[in-house]
């Protein structure tokens, strides 16, 4: 019966922001563990951090930042009544999501090839902190990767709606909420990247 209620864009955005809080807290649990275990095993964390590929990590950061820019431009485009460029910009965002996942795939594969994966003999028999570091790395980036997939799927669905003309300049809150979600995916990575690749 939602059609009985008057449309409320402010309410829709409020709901989205509340949901984004829950996403931040979901990752927050992993960041708490990171903080505690970093304090307990600073040397193993440092050694593990140096094994990560900074070039790939940096490239992925640039890719995600670009995708967020394109998403923000898509919102401006639909508000100024340009559905075609909106769809093109969303395609760009989704393309970046794809590139991110491909790079991530190569990064993970390289780790697997070196015998680093959860429960691998090297981690099970290595120093305790090393296992904790890489387990956290895989869980955090894995959960983030799932969010990239979900965000990409969400923007694809929204993009088809723009293409069909059911999202317009006057009725664009769903696109705005979708891009809010995408910025969150980007933002979480902005925290993951320095914590795992840079500061250790």
């Amino acid at each position: 019966m939602s059609h009985l209620l008057p449309r409320d864009d402010v309410g829709a955005k409020l709901g989205m922001w509340l949901f984004l809080f829950t996403e931040l807290l979901l990752f927050g649990g992993l960041f708490i563990l990171y903080a505690v275990y970093l304090a307990r095993y600073p040397h193993e964390f440092s050694a593990g951090g140096h094994e990560l590929n900074v070039v790939m990590g940096t490239t992925n950061t640039v890719v995600l930042l670009t995708s967020s820019l394109l998403a923000a431009m898509a919102v401006t485009a639909i508000k100024t009544g340009k559905p075609k460029s909106t769809v093109a910009l969303l395609l760009g965002t989704i393309g970046c999501a794809g590139i991110f996942l491909v790079i991530k795939y190569f990064e993970w594969s390289a780790k697997f090839a070196h015998g680093i994966y959860p429960g691998s003999p090297r981690l099970v028999h290595g120093p305790p902190g090393e296992s904790v570091f890489f387990s956290l790395y895989f869980l955090t980036t894995g959960l983030h990767g799932i969010h990239v997939v979900v965000g990409g799927a969400l923007l694809t669905w929204i993009g088809t709606k723009v293409g069909k003309g059911s999202l317009t300049a006057e009725n664009n809150v769903m696109l705005e909420n979708g891009t809010l979600y995408w910025h969150l995916v980007d933002l979480v990575w902005i925290f993951i990247f320095p914590l795992y690749y840079l500061i250790l």
């Binding site: 309410g11 708490i32 099970v124 869980l139």
Partner: protein, 541 residues
């Protein structure tokens, strides 16, 4: 719109105005009242499952040694009793059922902010429930870890923990979406004139609850995902041999699960704040303090989780800080109790069924809350930790508190939605039996705990035999009362006397709309001119 006394069970209002037919008009409805009733019957169904398992536990403990089951079955039974009661009954309990039914009407809205999301919440609840139930009968059998899923046992046991934990994860999602929906609804959809100072206290309590649902649930979600990862991938994050720390699991688990206690009790306090003034014929005493104390409980309750872990290994400083903060939570809780009692003072009290449940809430919650302070003080907690004293304590708060408030709400609001009422005398008999049975059972447990009987043990020393027998007899009395109450409600709501207008003289908005309320709640959007407990002005034409 009529509520005429024909033989058809319930008619009129939202029972009729629907485009769909049969079961589809319920499980695909976005009307908050229909979703509320869906939730009500779902949680009641699981409540009965939980009660059945609880009775089995009491039967097993009636005498020392094996009585009706093996030790392994006993572990599974108390685990499933906890999981079902906590995740399938009491967390969604009042907010999702009565919150959905009543809250939008109380703020003068036509529905919640996101009606389709509301339906999705129920579906996620149903899917989560099916997953949990499936976990009992597949794989290695029902989980035997206790509802807390503590590592390392939960990472190693051969029982079907992964699936059960995943079910709880889905249920958490449902709870989060309800929270998002309610906060947005209360911010955006209040009727004209319904300012924050005129919100019924039930709405205030749901508002505080919804924030806890939003802010606490994600932590348990990630924790449960880690348990699954531990079992399927062997990540070793909580495994000491690989550098992990099992105590970190307990921290993460209780960061959610202690605030979750307030998801359970706050809406119950909201119900009591509605019933007490109506049946005392007096405006609530200290409206502002009750409203603020709901938010204060939600805030302070989020930083006390460590009191579950005094014996798990924490620094003395941490123990003292958590102990202090625990005592801080007692203050807003006590503020509520004092305000309810002050409302009663010199009121024109009418002892009808909802009021009896509400009054017993005050007593039982106070016993539960005060025994909580014994557990919150580290010095005494060390002695009674993991004994039956704890079991008695949280049943006083959860069952004596939230359970009795749930029944108060059922007797108070359901006639409004069915247009028919239950019989008063059986309701009072049922209440009396439940009240007596409850105290016989759980007070005895607290005494047993003080004497040193541990919780979750299959067997016990012969010196505990007599009191355990008494507690089991209490469970029979309690269940007898429960059955009488449910039958009376069921028969009354379907075939009882017509229930019309505003027989109890409530002043909040649900009492001015038709009985049963129409699909969009009001013939025209209401304009609010007085507070929810301003009985004098509500009585004027």
């Amino acid at each position: 719109m009529s509520s005429d006394a024909t033989v058809t069970p319930v008619t009129g209002g939202f029972w009729e105005d629907t485009g769909k037919r049969g079961i589809a008009s319920w499980i695909f409805s976005t009307d908050h009242k229909r979703i509320g009733l869906l939730y009500l019957y779902s949680v009641l169904g699981f409540f009965l499952v939980g009660v059945f398992l609880g009775v089995l536990i009491r039967l097993e403990l009636m005498a020392p040694g094996p009585t009706i089951m093996t030790a392994k079955t006993y572990n599974a039974v108390f685990t499933v009793h906890g999981v079902v009661m906590i995740f399938l009954f009491i967390i969604p309990g009042i907010p999702a059922s009565f919150g959905n039914l009543v809250m939008p009407i109380q703020i003068g809205a036509r529905d919640v902010a996101f009606p389709r999301l509301n339906l999705l919440s129920w579906w996620l609840y149903a899917i989560g429930a099916v997953i949990v139930l499936t976990s009992l009968f597949t794989g290695g059998g029902a989980p035997d870890t206790g509802w807390t899923f503590y590592v390392p046992f939960s990472a190693r046991t051969g029982t079907n923990v992964s699936l059960a934990v995943f079910g709880v994860f889905v249920l958490g999602f449902s709870s989060i979406l309800t929270g998002v929906n309610f906060v947005t609804t209360i911010h955006r959809l209040r009727a004209e004139g319904m300012n924050w100072g005129r919100l019924p206290l039930f709405v205030w309590s749901l508002y505080a609850t919804a924030w806890v649902q939003i802010l606490a649930t994600p932590i348990v979600a990630i924790t449960l995902l880690m348990v699954i990862a531990e079992r399927t991938l062997g990540v070793g994050l909580f495994d000491p041999s690989r550098g992990g720390d099992p105590v970190m699991y307990q921290h993460l688990f209780w960061i959610y699960s202690h605030p979750a206690v307030y998801i359970m009790i706050l809406p119950a306090m909201g119900v009591i704040s509605e019933v007490i003034p109506v049946f005392s014929r007096k405006p609530i005493f200290g409206y502002k303090m009750i409203a603020v104390s709901s938010v204060a409980i939600a805030a302070a309750g989020s930083v006390v989780w460590g009191h579950h872990m005094f014996t798990s290994g924490m620094s003395d400083t941490a123990v003292m800080v958590f102990s202090f903060l625990t005592f801080v939570v007692a203050i807003p809780s006590a503020i509520k109790v004092f305000n309810w009692v002050s409302t009663l003072y010199r009121g024109s009290i009418s002892l009808e069924a909802p009021m009896l449940f509400a009054l017993s809430f005050i007593l039982l919650f106070s016993i539960g809350g005060l025994s909580g302070l014994i557990l919150g003080a580290a010095a005494t907690d060390i002695h009674v930790h993991d004994t039956h004293f704890v079991v008695g304590h949280f049943h006083y708060v959860m069952f004596g508190g939230t359970g009795f408030a749930f029944f108060a709400a059922a007797h108070y609001w359901l006639p409004k939605f069915y247009g028919r009422r239950y019989k008063e005398k059986p309701a009072i008999v049922a209440w009396a039996l439940m009240f007596v049975g409850f105290n016989v059972m759980y007070f005895t447990m607290q005494v047993l705990g003080m004497k040193g009987m541990p919780r979750r043990y299959f067997d016990y020393l012969p010196e505990f035999a007599r009191l355990n027998f008494v507690a089991t007899v209490g469970s029979w009395i309690l269940v007898t009362g429960l059955i009488i109450m449910l039958v009376n409600l069921w028969r009354g709501l379907l075939k009882g006397e017509p229930f019309e207008g505003n027989p109890w003289g409530g002043a909040s908005l649900e009492w001015i709309t038709a009985t049963p309320p129409p699909t969009e709640n009001f013939e025209e959007d209401p304009v609010v001119t007085h507070g929810p407990y301003d009985f004098k002005r509500a009585g004027e034409p």
